[in-house]
């Protein structure tokens, strides 16, 4: 047993029970259906902004782009305008590819030796594939949920639902995204447990969001396909939240409150966790700056003068030897020793 994920698993189970007991036993629907979501949203927004402002307050003193390709220099070489961009457009494309396709993660290129049978080519893009599946599935699920917060339901949301429910098998229609999300989360978890080097580097903070998202997805799927909740009433609640006229309709079902509570926890947890990579990627100087650093000067806001060893101090120390060796000097030694400040700001 691994303490790191046990702690996280227990934490998520406790949260689950908390919501269940709170609603089913103590009838705290208002707390779990209205107060917590509002508080969580407030923490999320404030925390997110706080974090971004915190990053933005620290300046970027040097343009430390990771140049992952040929620079723009001479006509005989063809530059990699995306991997080593020399202008804003290139940077934007690089960032877009990074954000939408996880380009760097995809870069795990492999080399195959063809003339020996000892090694076989092995596709090792699983991490990339599942990470991408996870994020897109999450995104689709998120957009789909806009149905609960808009009236009438936005057209793009309806289109997306159609697309997502492409595999229509009976009623209700199956949304692929929820299952992909579950599968990807499970893969990402198993990967951390099975691969010793992953297990070694993983912290409770890596397992907790996985379990939390798993529980959210599972409760959502349960609600939709198994223990159905009153969807009309559920929407009344969620619409009440967004229109700032919160109400608690009767008989939605406990599962709904559990789901909402776990989402609230995720929201509140978000800004204080590694999940902030969502915002952080935009702030990363190795990716969001062009590599044209010899072409255009980059300003460091806190650049300060430093003590240097001047040529004059250098010549003072070595003048005689330099003259003897026939090296030109600034000052020929006169009868009086010419004392000068040795070091200069």
């Amino acid at each position: 047993m691994n303490a790191n994920y046990m702690y996280s698993l227990i934490a998520v189970i406790v949260l689950l029970l908390l919501a269940y007991v709170g609603v089913a036993g103590l009838h705290l629907e208002v707390l779990f259906g209205i107060v917590f979501p509002y508080v969580a949203m407030a923490i999320f927004v404030a925390g997110f902004v706080y974090k971004l402002v915190g990053w933005a307050k620290s300046p970027v003193p040097f343009p430390i782009t990771t140049t992952s390709g040929q620079q723009v220099s001479l006509p005989m070489v063809s530059p990699a305008r995306i991997d080593n961009p020399n202008n804003k457009l290139g940077v934007v494309i690089r960032m877009l590819l990074e954000i939408f396709l996880f380009r760097s993660l995809f870069r795990n290129t492999k080399f195959e030796i063809k003339d020996t049978n000892k090694f076989s080519y092995e596709m090792e893009k699983w991490l990339w594939l599942f990470a991408l599946a996870f994020h897109y599935a999450f995104f689709v699920v998120l957009i789909r949920h806009l149905r609960f917060f808009t009236e009438p339901v936005l057209l793009p949301v309806q289109w997306l639902e159609k697309l997502d429910g492409f595999f229509q098998v009976g009623l209700p229609g199956i949304f692929l995204s929820g299952f992909v999300l579950m599968a990807a989360v499970i893969y990402l978890f198993l990967r951390r447990v099975w691969i010793p080097q992953m297990r070694y580097i993983s912290l409770p903070a890596d397992y907790f969001p996985l379990f939390l998202i798993l529980a959210i997805a599972a409760s959502g799927i349960l609600m939709r396909y198994v223990a159905k909740v009153d969807i009309v009433n559920a929407k009344e609640l969620t619409m009440g939240l967004v229109t700032l006229r919160p109400t608690i309709p009767e008989g939605i079902g406990v599962l709904f409150y559990v789901h909402v509570f776990l989402v609230s926890v995720l929201l509140a947890y978000f800004p204080f966790s590694k999940l902030m990579h969502l915002g952080g990627i935009f702030f990363c100087p190795t990716r969001n700056l062009p590599g044209n650093t010899r072409e255009f000067r980059y300003e460091n806001p806190w650049n300060y003068p430093v003590k240097i060893h001047t040529y004059e101090a250098y010549e003072d120390e070595f003048r005689e030897k330099m003259i003897e060796a026939g090296l030109p000097v600034e000052k020929m030694p006169g009868p009086e020793k010419n004392l000068e400040e040795g070091e200069k700001e």
Partner: protein, 542 residues
């Protein structure tokens, strides 16, 4: 029978089970061959660096100031406020593991703390403890741990097992750059006087005498004049380098290692031959004894030290009144020039946008920094057919090219040296694609780790590179490893000596000079190293 005999692996004490404790609870063991000696107090004094004293990494007592924890805390705080990179990198890692097996030190040593993610976690854990709410409240559960002497020792041990090569940053989905974390971590260690001598002493030498090795001006000139004799012996042509000459058009700066130790010396001769050849075509260039170091071990110490050493380049260019600066082959020197120099010590408004006096090419990619890489310069010469080259003079060589980390991932100079190589030699073969260009493997000795006492570390770190060389050696009979970095030229011969003894190491401009047909040269029978050219084995190599 099978069950009665003792099992040999039981007789040998090898741990098969994973360490029961997690990495936070596995204290560092400072092992011989893996670390460099502590910085000489005299060198620290020259620089006015904190806490100069005699100390030994294997001693229990590191002779730290009493308030060292406070210094570390303040050091972290200050840098979090000054470097967005550092702050973001402390927060956003999701420990996906993509970087884990990209580090040459992990691949070679198998030490899990050499996985870039874990190297960074060594610092992150303390950051979380001291600077984040989650860490303060949840402690270990949030991946936080307090600073202790053991943690500090761990920082020191593993931050000096990172060569700041940035290979991991190429693969990181968020662009987290372990080099940046190591740079800042080392900067904090330096606040406590925890540097290594292989860095501290070159820095101190460079500060005072202008170069890492402490070569004084007259000796520097002498060295190059000995090269003049050597060159005359091989080519029959006497070259005339000039020094500290005011009014020259171009200032030339290269790492001093090439003036001092083989095989870099042949590269230095290569520059001299090229400059001589170009003199009649209009090249007006001078060397400097004051700015006689292109390398900058200050970069491996702190941002401030880097700036103090680098300042000499512009300072000297201004004093001599040159128009622009040409830089020799070096790795980290070029990261400093490309990404730091103009910002730190610019604007260089007293210089002009570099224009090749031979071809008239404007190096617009260097128009602000005003410093051009010699591989760019030479590639341009070849492109304009200004060099009379006979690549067959390098026919005894089968060459492969090692991309140095910094010109690759901190600049993007990948094809210029290849263009030059393909024009000066006939046999050029690439190593496997995931070991070159932006994915190049480090020599294992970068960032000031090319000392003698950490030879095991260097051999481990260089193993992935040696392995790729082995491949081309077997496949194409490669016998020469070309590079554009002075640390490579110092470190790779040792690496090759251990793994691939038949493979030599050369700088790019050694090959250029060997292929260059000089006006008035004698019949060439050997290259600069005195080795007979192909078909000239029987000639009297005088």
């Amino acid at each position: 029978m099978a069950d009665e005999l003792p099992k040999p692996e039981e007789l040998i004490d090898v741990e098969h089970v994973p360490p029961i404790t997690g990495w936070m609870d596995t204290p560092v063991e400072i092992r011989k061959g893996m670390y460099c000696y502590a910085g000489n107090p005299k060198s620290l004094e020259t620089l006015g660096a904190p806490n100069p004293r005699q100390w030994n990494p294997t001693d229990e007592d590191w002779k730290l100031p009493d308030n060292w924890k406070e210094i570390v805390f303040e050091g972290l705080r200050e840098r979090l406020d000054k470097f967005r990179s550092f702050k973001v990198f402390m927060d956003i890692c999701v420990r996906c593991g993509a970087c884990a097996d990209k580090c040459h030190f992990f691949i070679g040593s198998g030490d899990p703390k050499n996985m870039p993610v874990l190297r960074a976690e060594l610092i992150r854990s303390v950051y979380r403890n001291d600077f984040t709410k989650a860490g303060k409240i949840l402690g270990r559960l949030a991946g936080a741990r307090p600073m202790t002497l053991d943690v500090l020792k761990e920082w020191w041990y593993y931050l000096f097992q990172c060569s700041e090569c940035r290979r991991c940053s190429v693969f990181c989905p968020y662009g987290i750059d372990t080099a940046e974390i190591t740079i800042i971590g080392r900067e904090i260690l330096n606040l406590l006087g925890l540097n290594i001598d292989w860095i501290a002493t070159p820095v101190s030498n460079c500060y005072r005498t202008g170069n890492h090795l402490g070569i004084q001006p007259h000796a520097f000139k002498d060295m190059l004049e000995f090269f003049v004799d050597d060159i005359e012996e091989v080519t029959g042509v006497r070259v005339e380098p000039s020094f500290n000459r005011k009014g020259a058009e171009i200032l030339f700066i290269t790492p001093s290692g090439d003036v001092f130790a083989d095989p870099g010396t042949y590269t230095a001769m290569g520059y001299m031959i090229l400059f001589h050849y170009l003199r009649d075509l209009g090249l007006d260039i001078t060397w400097s004894t004051y700015a006689s170091e292109g390398g900058n071990f200050g970069f491996f110490t702190s941002h401030e030290t880097m700036k103090r050493l680098n300042a000499k380049m512009y300072y000297e260019a201004k004093r001599l009144g040159v128009k622009w600066i040409l830089g020799g082959e070096c790795g980290h020197m070029w990261r400093v020039i490309h990404q730091y120099m103009d910002t730190m010590n610019g604007p260089a408004d007293f210089l002009e946008e570099p224009v090749s006096p031979i071809t008239g090419t404007r190096f617009t990619n260097a128009k602000s920094t005003k410093m051009v890489h010699i591989a760019e310069f030479t590639a341009d010469l070849i492109y304009h057919k200004k060099l009379n080259l006979d690549p067959s003079r390098n026919d005894h060589l089968k060459v492969t090219f090692h991309d140095s980390c910094n010109p690759s991932r901190g600049m993007g100079m990948l094809d210029e040296p290849r263009y030059v190589l393909q024009n000066v030699c006939n046999n050029f073969y690439e190593m496997p694609s995931n070991t070159i260009r932006e994915q190049t493997f480090c020599c294992g000795s970068g960032s000031g780790l090319n000392a003698g006492e950490d030879m095991e570390l260097r051999m481990m770190g260089g193993m992935p590179r040696a392995n790729a060389v082995h491949f081309v050696k077997e496949k194409y009979d490669v016998n020469m490893l070309a590079c554009v970095c002075a640390i490579d030229r110092a470190a790779l011969p040792a690496l090759m000596d251990y793994y691939e003894p038949e493979v030599g190491v050369t700088g790019l401009h050694e090959l250029v000079a060997n292929a260059l047909i000089l006006p008035g040269e004698k019949k060439k029978t050997t290259n600069l190293r005195g080795e007979p050219l192909l078909g000239m084995e029987d000639e009297d190599a005088e």
